[in-house]
């Protein structure tokens, strides 16, 4: 057995492998960095608690939609979709299968629509109570949402179907915080960390509705919600937003495929401003491109006590009450008879009697 001195080995290696010059070393380092980055985020690092949670939610809802034969109602939005809308109630009232397909604001609309198109057929109805941020989001911000990371790590099929700009954005969707959070989340899962979210904020039912977000659980967040003031988007912001252009593209696709799209307003805290011009601009997005727009008498605005943990998430009693109002308003639009629910939604202090009629613009 040879017993080479380490220095001799190094010298030997140096003779065989040419030493890179300063610039060569620089290029090697840069190339290696990009390669390691792509491999780590594409195949090794993951965020099972954060992005994995979103991904599973979306997959579960798509799986439910795939099981439904015949016309169905799909609600697509940000997180106000599952938190403030109850497909379980709407389905029972309209006798129409319903899937609550929204997940979170920040999920790219092109990704959301790309995933859902395969499950939408002629005769289906899509209700879009999108949050204002979803209309006004810029192209780059939209391309760098959590879906970029999800696609780069787990869903290359959908990524390939999107634009090259999205490919590049997906590759560079990971910053230092993402790397650290990946390590933390993977360690937590490996250590059998018990995810407390179900106990703290509730969970999802078979329809994709968020459930269990009771007023009691939401009580500690009331002061937080009150502090979360945010300005309303302007009418021009809605009109010119990149998100709006994606929604318009979806409206055009839907019209071509016999899918009916009804726009709506997201649930919002009534203390926050929403200028009339902004509401009108939202309606115009749909009405000008072959869709309908449904605005409830209360404009989907509720007092602080109706909210759970953000100024967009109703608590469960108010989610049910809002869904009853919505189902009643949707019924004439869809030519359906309303079956009044056994529990009329009186637990929500902000909605009394549930007799409010829907107002439609179409």
């Amino acid at each position: 057995m040879r017993d080479d001195h380490p220095g001799q080995v190094e010298a030997l290696v140096a003779d065989v492998v040419p030493r890179p010059s300063g610039f060569g070393r620089l290029l090697c380092a840069a190339g290696a960095s990009l390669l390691i980055y792509a491999i780590m985020f594409g195949a090794v690092l993951d965020r099972p608690l954060d992005l994995g949670f979103l991904q599973h939610q979306l997959d579960d809802r798509l799986a439910r939609a795939a099981t439904i034969n015949g016309p169905k109602l799909v609600i697509l939005a940000g997180s106000n979709g599952p938190y403030s809308h109850r497909c379980e109630v709407i389905e029972a009232m309209l006798a129409l299968p319903c899937v609550n397909g929204g997940v979170a604001v920040g999920i790219g609309l092109d990704y959301l629509f790309a995933r859902w198109r395969a499950q939408l057929h002629a005769g289906d109805i899509v209700y879009l109570p999108m949050e204002q941020e979803q209309y006004t989001a810029g192209r780059t911000a939209e391309a760098l949402g959590p879906d970029a990371a999800i696609m780069f790590r787990h869903d290359w099929t959908t990524l390939r179907a999107l634009s090259p700009h999205r490919w590049l954005a997906a590759l560079f969707a990971f910053d230092l915080r993402a790397a650290l959070m990946s390590a933390i989340e993977m360690l937590m899962v490996a250590a059998h960390f018990h995810d407390p979210r179900a106990a703290v904020t509730g969970t999802s039912n078979a329809w994709g509705d968020h459930v269990g977000h009771t007023a009691l659980l939401g009580a500690p967040s009331q002061t937080v919600i009150a502090a979360m003031a945010r300005p309303s988007a302007s009418a021009s912001g809605i009109r010119d937003g990149y998100g709006t252009s994606v929604i318009v593209g979806f409206l055009q696709w839907a019209r071509g495929h016999g899918v009916r799209v009804i726009g709506g307003l997201p649930t919002e805290l009534d203390q926050l401003p929403r200028p009339e011009a902004t509401g009108a601009a939202l309606a115009r997005v749909y009405l000008a491109h072959g869709g309908d727009f449904l605005e409830l008498d209360n404009h989907s605005r509720y007092p602080l006590a109706a909210f759970f943990d953000t100024p967009l998430h109703l608590n469960e009693p108010c989610q049910i009450a809002h869904s009853i109002l919505l189902a009643r308003a949707l019924a004439p639009l869809l030519g359906r008879t309303v079956r009044e629910p056994a529990a009329p939604g009186d637990d929500c202090p902000s909605v009394t009697g549930g007799t409010t009629a829907g107002e439609t613009n179409h």
Binding site: Y37, L144, F172, L176, E185
Partner: protein, 518 residues
């Protein structure tokens, strides 16, 4: 044009560098300097073209003043008195100053008057643009603002030129013609935020015969130092900046911060300002190296300092050096007894604080450091010594506390932040953590999320904790960029280059360098 912007990195820098070397190849020695000066003015005017005449005027007047000083200075007779053969400038027509008047008899008193006039001119210029409204409001608090826009970099180019005038009076550097002088002051790598370099360090390099010849080693070293500085800024400083902004914005709105929220904001800002400014300095040093110019070190792992005096030998070294040589020493330094020495220390730090901005929070920051230095000096005179790690920890604590008034938006916000750091608003923890370990409920109030921590989501606490841990590990355990070997820099680039590219092209917004505002 920020160093950290794509337009600078992909457009301006390659163009200027290429033009510089082309001018060096095909022109005489003036050509690359003229090209560089033109590029400097474009770089400076990119923010506000209306500031360019101010910079140009200041440079022209200071050059004239320096000539007046030098001509009358006893120690530096006019250049024409030197035999041409021994004149190092003889090959450089720009620096030979052909239009200069005939030699005059040395007149130190006149030189001193010209120096006073020059320093007064520079301080008046700085005072008008930077301190007029501040001083007016001290005299008449209800007076309306003068609405004077602060020209970019005025603090830096003013100090740079005061240094030049003083050094001219003491003949600490060779005379410089208008073009080398303007190229020295306006050299874009240090124009906006330093380092504040001595004329004697840079002017000889600008006159070196091979200045505009591309040197592969310098280009490679400069590029790697620049890229590492860019990473410090974009990847580290901006990450910590986002955390700091959340806490300090809450304090500015009068929101009571809990212990963790306040401390995390202060710790994040401490890292942000270090990575931001040292990253900027690294970029400046790297850029200068690409042009075959070597800048002095500006940061030497300051948070590793074992005492507060050591901190000031490591933090913003070029400013510390300026304050020591051009303020503390002229005030008398340590030559007039202990009491005056302490007074001079205090005055130097107060004025150093005020240099950072016309606001009381900067004075408070300077004053705190003055108190620290005075206390340290007194402690040393007693012959007491703290064990190294304790001294380092105490120094770091003092520095972190002093950053609070520096960053906070006013006195109320400072007090709000300090109250939180003192635990007077209690300790809150996410109920997720308290639920996982119930005994914590004895000392901590469970809350759904810590609203003023990171993005205020369920996992914000571990996320911010991990980021802070990484940041503090880097500053406390790793050598700084200039201590690294070429190979080690390669490894550092391997670790950070992809994140830098990510931040450069895909970060949600470009945050300006903190020191631009000073």
């Amino acid at each position: 044009m920020l160093f950290s912007s794509p337009v600078f990195i992909l457009g301006f820098l390659p163009l200027v560098l290429g033009g510089f070397f082309l001018a060096g190849r095909f022109g005489d020695q003036r050509a690359p300097l003229a090209w560089l000066l033109a590029a400097d003015l474009v770089f400076y005017g990119w923010w506000n073209p209306w500031d360019v005449p101010l910079l140009a005027g200041s440079v022209a007047i200071n050059h004239l003043l320096a000539q007046c000083i030098r001509r009358r200075s006893q120690a530096a007779p006019p250049k024409s008195a030197h035999p041409a053969s021994s004149n190092p400038e003889s090959s450089n027509p720009e620096s030979s100053n052909p239009g200069s008047p005939t030699p005059e008899a040395p007149n130190p008193a006149a030189a001193r008057y010209w120096l006073i006039a020059g320093v007064t001119f520079n301080l008046a210029l700085l005072g008008w643009f930077k301190y007029a409204t501040f001083l007016l409001h001290i005299a008449a608090p209800s007076a309306p603002s003068l609405n004077i826009a602060l020209p970019l970099a005025i603090s830096f180019f003013t100090f740079q030129q005061i240094m030049f005038l003083v050094d001219s009076a003491h003949a600490r550097h060779e005379p410089a013609g208008p073009l080398p002088y303007a190229a020295f002051v306006c050299f874009f790598p240090h124009l906006i935020a330093g380092p504040i370099v001595r004329p004697s360090e840079i002017l000889p390099q600008l006159r070196a015969p091979g200045l505009a010849r591309p040197v592969a080693a310098n280009l490679a070293a400069g590029t790697s130092i620049f890229l590492l500085g860019l990473g410090k800024k974009l990847v580290l400083a901006d990450t910590f900046g986002a955390f700091a902004n959340t806490g300090f914005a809450a304090a500015a709105h009068g929101t009571p911060l809990t212990l963790i929220e306040a401390w995390y904001a202060a710790l994040a800002y401490t890292l942000q300002i270090y990575f931001d400014f040292s990253g900027y300095s690294d970029m400046a040093i790297g850029l200068a190296r690409m042009f075959n110019i070597r800048f002095p070190l500006n940061f030497n792992s300051p948070y590793k300092a074992c005492d507060i005096a050591d901190f000031w030998r490591r933090w913003h070294i070029s400013l510390s050096r300026f304050l020591r040589d051009y303020l503390y020493s002229p005030l008398g330094g340590s030559r007039q007894g202990e009491a005056l020495r302490l007074r001079n220390l205090m005055l130097t730090m107060l004025l150093g604080g005020l240099w950072h901005g016309a606001a009381w929070n900067f004075v408070a920051w300077g004053g705190l450091h003055g108190v620290y230095l005075v206390a340290h000096r007194s402690w040393m005179r007693l012959g007491c010594r703290l064990p190294g790690p304790i001294g380092q920890a105490l120094t770091l604590l003092a520095v972190i506390v002093a950053w609070v008034p520096f960053r906070a938006d006013g006195t109320a916000a400072t007090l709000q932040m300090l109250r939180g750091m003192a635990g007077l608003n209690g300790l809150a923890l996410p109920q997720m953590i308290v639920g996982a370990w119930p005994p914590l409920a004895v000392i901590a109030r469970p809350v759904p999320v810590l609203l003023w921590l990171g993005d205020a989501h369920t996992l914000s606490l571990p996320e911010v904790s991990a980021c802070l841990l990484l940041g503090w590990l880097i500053v406390l355990t790793l050598p700084h960029v200039h201590e690294l070997s070429e190979r080690a820099r390669g490894w550092a680039l391997t670790a950070g280059f992809a994140f830098t590219v990510q931040a450069l092209f895909f970060a949600p917004y470009a945050a300006p360098f903190l020191y631009f505002r000073f």
